[in-house]
Symmetry: C4
Subunit: 204 residues, 4 copies
């Protein structure tokens, strides 16, 4: 009984997060307004920066969904603290459509580039806080702990976002390159949790 209730509880947290992430990833496309009375390929030129910013944000939200998915696979208990840490993460991710639109509509101008990085930074901080909340829960979570280890990738991302925010005002293309690079690093699927889980099964 206890087990069933807990897994259902986790199911709803996952379902709600999936819903928000699915909406976030899809409504961004609404910012790409199809030009009226303009049916040539050249008419799409103003949409190009919006498309590029959409592509970048799609990949980022995809990465968050992917990591969220992996992390909650090894979570058994959902506490009130975890619920709110998760909502905190969703709040920052829900701002991605806004900064993506600002970025694309102003063709990657320095301030929008910096604000984009600031939202990525806050989302990363929120993700880190969610991770800590799960690890600090009663009983802890040794599988997740060993999977994350010192979490170099996560900490390096924070440093990269912070650096990119500063560099936006020096050369905005360097900042954009950093966002693309960090995304590529995360695109490689995170095998740490998969490995740690496989280890638990062998050991158990």
């Amino acid at each position: 009984m206890r087990r069933i209730r807990e897994s259902m509880s986790k199911g709803r947290l996952e379902a709600f997060s999936d819903g928000v992430l699915a909406i976030v990833i899809t409504i961004m496309v609404l910012e790409m307004k199809a030009p009226h009375q303009a049916a040539e390929l050249a008419d799409l030129r103003p949409v190009a920066p919006l498309f590029l910013s959409y592509l970048l944000s799609f990949v980022y939200v995809g990465i968050y969904w992917n990591n969220h998915h992996h992390m909650f696979q090894v979570v058994d208990r959902i506490s009130g603290g975890i619920l709110w840490a998760n909502l905190h993460l969703l709040f920052w991710l829900s701002l991605i459509p806004f900064v993506t639109a600002w970025l694309g509509q102003n063709r990657f101008a320095p301030t929008p580039v910096a604000l984009y990085g600031a939202v990525l930074l806050m989302a990363a901080v929120a993700y880190y806080a969610l991770e800590r909340t799960i690890l600090r829960a009663p009983g802890g979570n040794p599988v997740l702990a060993s999977a994350i280890g010192r979490d170099l990738k996560g900490k390096l991302s924070l440093v990269c976002y912070a650096a990119a925010i500063g560099l936006s005002f020096v050369n905005r293309w360097i900042a954009c390159a950093i966002y693309v690079l960090v995304a590529l690093v995360w695109l490689v699927p995170d095998r740490r949790i998969e490995r740690a889980m496989a280890g638990r099964e062998k050991g158990g």
Copy 2:
């Protein structure tokens, strides 16, 4: 068989509610229009009140999701009455994006502040009615009943919203402060249901 059907029934009610709440919480961000041809931080100043109203509403919808989640964990049977009481709650919550936009676009003017409180009040009334519908179902729900008790927090919220509506026209910042305070009180996770469930497990 009976048990499976009931839990599936509850599953769909939760899934539909999660869907609506996920959309409500996310489409509010669409009201924050990214300024075109305006790439300075100062250009975001008109967006600031929209951001603040978004933040407040995000927290409120999060609280409702959280409480909804806790309440339905102890519900076993879904009747037609519960389905409609739940849709009634979702109706009022679906109006939050509208009043949030009106609030933010008019920089917290008295009438929008009052209307915001009116929708919060109606949502709270609908939540209370949903609670009563669950408790009045055949067989009752002693776990929920003992968890809620006299529901001082719920009743006080109603009084606060009603007071804030009146106070909007005296000093709108007092009304806003009340909305923030009530939200903070609910942010503290409601341990009553968790405690009552733990009690049931020990006793059972």
Copy 3:
């Protein structure tokens, strides 16, 4: 194994339908544009017809979700035909936000009132076709068949919508009254399926 796969299949049909219905019911609220630079209660007057049409459509989509939910509780097998009959229903329901907006923006003018009825009629026809597709599936569905019986309520609704479409051009308020009345008749929870299922359990 067979049973698990089938119920998962049904689960996805329900989840997708819940998703579409949750979005349909929520995006309608986006048509109610909060007036800018207009913070008096009188400024909301142009929004009033939109609010009324939203309220009516919210109830209709709620009824469809409710009936869909009850019907699929007694469905065990999902065939390709059922998937498409369900998508056909979702297509007509997805047009409700459009006709709701046209209705509200033109303050219940005759042609929008008639078109609103036409979409309700097509949705009802699609629901009826879905019901028939389920009953015609190999093995049939005796529980659903006995629950529906001659389906007087369903057939009467079709007649009412058709009558309302014609009456829109005579007196649009009669047509609107018919939409409200039919909605009220359906609001009363449909106990037929619940009763038929209870019967099956006793008999089984």
Copy 4:
């Protein structure tokens, strides 16, 4: 334990995909703007091409959901590669609302017709890549492999889309006719997977 974790993992991939597809299929309707202060049937004439393009895209997204649904019924293990191949498919499908709006707003002009085909082509390529990723997973998927066979239908669709892109600039109505024909071919439910699964059950 292993089995439960895997099916939950698949459940989340399906839930997220269902969410994105449900939003894609529903937000397209937002492009059909209800005309203000225009309540005659003739006022809907500008909406007609948008309605036709919406109808075509609704059917296409429905087909993708349907095929996605059938394919994942025989998938047991979700790897990181499958997650990303699935997100890649969702990316191209998420562009359908944009090309649908461009198509409808420019009354099926040649370039929008070609771009519509290009997005269909990329989605089909992404679907094919997802299929290959599943088949290449450790252990393979003999049920899916035998169900797909040489996948003539899939490969012919790719050829048709490519042909239609070129033909858009010769005669756009031929290109549109190809899109409708391919959709009709896929509308016929794909019994290959159903048959292959039935075979597995008899054999197993």
